[in-house]
Point group: none
Chain length 206, copies 4
DNA sequence: TATGAATGAGTTTTCATTCAT
DNA sequence: TATGAATGAAAACTCATTCAT
């Protein structure tokens, strides 16, 4: 079934896309040139056009790959969890820990670039919304589970909470990007954890 | 004291800067051309260079103006508040209310653009960090006041909380940008309010 | 007879022309901007156009002034000479002495610029040729005098010698411009003097 | 060893450089536009930038080529000479003969342009000085040889004489440029020859 | 008469894209 | 299929010149 020729082409395409990603992170979608990408990928400038119709096409491919990675990261984040709430918290802790890392930084930059593209291109906007929506559904499902299991206050709106969690995480990422080491993400996580205690089912008889 | 000539020049400069802002919002810092800005401002392209040394200079001026507006908005947000915590909550509510508005959208876009510039230019990074730091100090001071007055849990790290509030607000802004009407910011605010109850001084006998 | 108004205008014109000269020396005819000239002259850019029809016109005025100064310098160079040959030699020595000076440097630069303009504009070429011709006639006349008085070999072509003297002087000027202190003009003059002995009337019985 | 691709590129580069030379001669370094050069070379303006980093770079390449040609011309000028002095005189005669030619005119113009660039740019000045120095060393060596062989007065400073010969030649070139046919270079050469007789070893019993 | 803000044509330079080899 | 030279359509920026004040 897997045509070796197709495999080769796919691998090539992915290699170029990954090279482009690195260049985009360093120079921005607009600032990057096809030549830089070609150099990084070790191919000639003309070759890129055998795999991507245009620079825009390449940009979209990179944005899509970044989104996919983002969702996958969350999905694999807390395999060992024993309860929905624990899973959420563990995944959150895991992601926040990584916030300073080079790869998180890369993804955050690409995410910002992609957001700005989406602001101007409805097609990209739909793509981005789709990926964000998928993420939101994952989180929301966990919250509903947690509510079903009595771990989380049943009066809380799961959709809104899911958005809020995502927004806060992205916001901290972005802040870290803007301020570097100045912002103490560990301390912020501690405070956030404390806040999240507020959605736990109130066990006291209040 | 006010030289009419200087006044004229300043007004002109501001007008060009404002025109540039509009074009930047629609097309991005990179995508916008000096000609578009000139057209929007109703001047010739050459004239812009009497007021700004370069496109970069214009970008910086716009970014600075946007930051200033942002801080000013917060400062004027809750003049009628009677306590630090109330002030914070009122300001937060006010800002979140505005999140869907066209002007908030404009500012959010410019903020994202500025962030990406900052990622690549240390000078811009310093400028952005300065403006974010100022904002943070304002919020942090309020939190400390609230702690002094017994409104907020004294064990919470005020700096971390300030960053967290900013990150969440920016994150929601950004989310709104990405998803338009899909995300219900009012519901998110209600959940956030609920979370923030967790930092209130615990009056029960904990 | 001298209208004070005309005097004022003439003085103004000269001041602007002199300012332009300085700027042209530093930046070249092409590199200099009208704004620089205006700044140097302490007037506004627009004002220059009341005195000169265009930048080209200003260039021509500067070139003309430079040529005039050049001829005048030669004419006043050796007032105390007692014989034509002595006059020539004294003037030569005087000019060669000045070769390293700032003012000679200025004039040499302007002369080169003017030459290049002349190469491309017949009008300027005629002007330059006229000024060079005048100079040549002055020198040639001296040579003829010297021949009449038996100081110089009568078989030498006075016109050709005049051209040669001018060419050599200009050439050394130009060399000094290209090489700065590297070239020892005093030593070159000594050798040149020695050569010029060759045109003296041969007193030995050859 | 000779890569056909490299050969092609080198030929292309040379062709563009030669086209540029022609345009520079007609319009000057400053007056020439990249578009004119492209048209002359039969390529698009953008193509030039594959071979030269900037207009300045192209200017430098042209200046260098001109200098190299100048030195080479001298070196090949008098292959059949039987003595150093004869070589010098033959080379001089040869160069002076060519002074009116179109190619000498071209080179003279480029030399003037290069001189003016050198006046304002230390880097170019160094380049020009280097090329002039090389020429001077060639001539100086010949003079020393002639002195050793008893052809030239041993009391003459060979360096100063070398500079003087170069200055005079350049000066006559420049004069021819300024005055066209008006100046009789053949007559001037005759006079110069006569002067140069003065450096010959005095055979009479002085 | 002087000013200097405005103009807009013109210049250098970049770069996505094409296409002959 | 890959290459990379060539293209040409912008884009930023400059500056001589004009003209309302």
């Amino acid at each position: 079934m897997p045509d070796p020729r197709t495999d080769y082409l796919t691998a090539r395409r992915d290699a170029i896309r990954d090279a482009a990603e690195g260049v985009f992170v360093r120079w921005g979608f607009d600032g990057a040139t096809m030549q830089q990408i070609a150099d990084e990928a070790g191919v000639s400038a003309g070759t890129i056009y055998r795999y991507f119709a245009s620079k825009d096409d390449l940009v979209r491919a990179v944005a899509r790959a970044c989104s996919a990675r983002y969702t996958a990261q969350f999905e694999s984040s807390a395999q060992t969890a024993t309860s929905p709430l624990e899973l959420l918290m563990t995944a959150g802790a895991h992601i926040w820990e990584g916030i300073g890392s080079a790869s998180a930084r890369r993804d955050a930059i690409l995410q910002l670039e992609a957001t700005l593209v989406a602001v101007r291109e409805p097609t990209s906007a739909a793509l981005l919304a789709e990926s964000m929506g998928e993420m939101r559904r994952l989180i929301e499902a966990l919250i509903r589970d947690a509510q079903t299991q009595g771990e989380v206050d049943p009066f809380i709106d799961p959709t809104a909470l899911a958005w809020l969690l995502m927004a806060t995480t992205n916001g901290v990422q972005s802040l870290a990007l803007q301020l570097g080491e100045t912002v103490d993400t560990t301390a912020a996580w501690r405070v956030f954890e404390q806040l999240l205690a507020g959605i736990r089912t109130q066990e006291d008889g209040r």
